[in-house]
């Protein structure tokens, strides 16, 4: 468990260090994820062993967004005037993006015969 958590932190650290030192726009944890994936492909045994720890971290992924979400208290004044327009923009855009993404994926998959 602690070894697996350490491995995850080490990959995040490598990701952060690389993106910062190379001046990349990719965020450190995303690069860390990609590197860990490559590591899993090289050593499948590790991937199997780390599965429970990773699952534990991901099972309450939504909890981790709460602190940033509470930041809304600092923007309540702006939300009063521009709130409705922003809210509508986010609502329409999120619905459109999900619909377009899912329809493109499923229709191309069907067209290519790559259905599940």
């Amino acid at each position: 468990m602690i070894l697996h958590l350490t491995t995850i932190l080490v990959f995040q650290l490598i990701g952060e260090t690389l993106t910062r030192s190379l001046g990349w726009v990719v965020p450190g944890p995303v690069l860390g994820m990609a590197l860990l994936l490559v590591f899993f492909m090289a050593v499948p045994r590790v991937a199997k062993a780390m599965q429970p720890t990773a699952q534990g971290l991901l099972s309450h992924l939504s909890l981790l967004f709460v602190p940033a979400g509470v930041g809304i208290v600092g923007h309540l004044d702006r939300m009063g005037t521009d709130g409705p327009a922003i809210f509508l923009a986010l609502l329409i855009s999120t619905a459109l993006s999900i619909a377009v993404g899912a329809l493109v994926f499923s229709s191309i998959a069907r067209w290519m015969g790559a259905e599940e």
Binding site: P29, M33, L64, V66, V70, H75, I86, S97, A102, S106
Partner: protein, 238 residues
């Protein structure tokens, strides 16, 4: 015995109080979500954020003070992102098989998210730094903040818009995709990850393991793509 106010003064300065409050608020949100029979609109994040916002307002606590305690939870976002490698690895062969539909859906979903958000906001009179802050709202928080800042937006506002987008995606995905008749779990998960990042991904994992894994890929790839696209698209609106 100490005065109540003295105890409060102590608690208000330690991270313990707001860390505990964050976990309690989330447990309440999660309990409500389970009690509702896992209905998407009873979103644990939304409930927890609302409860905490009300408590902060009532106790006149500044967000910075709250965040000193809550940062321990916030910190785990990084390791959780790295941990997404595990479900990705587990689904690698399916991802390889669906590489082409996946990349097409990424481009379509990402461009749609940025252009439609900016288009609607612009049409309703939003200009300047708020407009810029909206552009990266579909991307996972740490990336979105970076994009917003580099384009002259307001990073803290972007953080809030990112969360809002995530909650909206998590709430509307299942009913919307059912209505559209999309039954492919890969397509459903992927689109949700592209449009509403980690919160959408968390929701996808609640519904279906495959959808969750594909949502994680969608989130990761869109983080990369939006970093390139957002500055190009926003320049059309300024």
């Amino acid at each position: 015995m100490n005065e109540l106010s003295q105890i409060w003064t102590y608690l208000a300065e330690e991270p313990l109080l707001w860390l505990t409050a964050t976990l309690i608020a989330y447990c309440l949100g999660d309990a409500a979500f389970r009690a509702s029979g896992k209905r998407a609109y009873v979103n644990p994040v939304l409930i927890a954020v609302t409860l905490l916002a009300v408590v902060l307002w009532m106790t006149e606590t500044r967000y910075q003070t709250y965040f000193e305690g809550a940062q321990f939870v916030h910190f785990m976002l990084g390791p959780a992102t790295v941990a997404l490698a595990a479900p990705l690895y587990g689904n690698l062969s399916r991802i390889r098989r669906s590489a082409i539909p996946l990349l097409c859906a990424l481009l379509a979903g990402s461009v749609t998210a940025i252009i439609s958000a900016l288009g609607v906001a612009y049409a309703m009179g939003i200009r300047g730094d708020i407009l810029v802050s909206i552009a990266p709202k579909s991307v996972t928080a740490p990336v979105a903040l970076g994009i917003s800042e580099s384009m002259g937006g307001e990073p803290t506002l972007t953080a809030v818009l990112v969360i809002l987008t995530g909650v909206m995606g998590a709430v509307m995905a299942t009913p919307l995709l059912n209505r559209l008749g999309v039954t492919d779990w890969r397509a459903r998960g992927f689109a949700v990850g592209v449009a509403s990042h980690g919160i959408g991904t968390a929701r996808a994992f609640q519904v279906n393991e495959t959808a969750g894994a594909f949502a994680g890929i969608g989130m990761g790839l869109n983080a990369l793509l939006t970093t390139v696209l957002a500055p190009m698209i926003i320049s059309l609106f300024l």
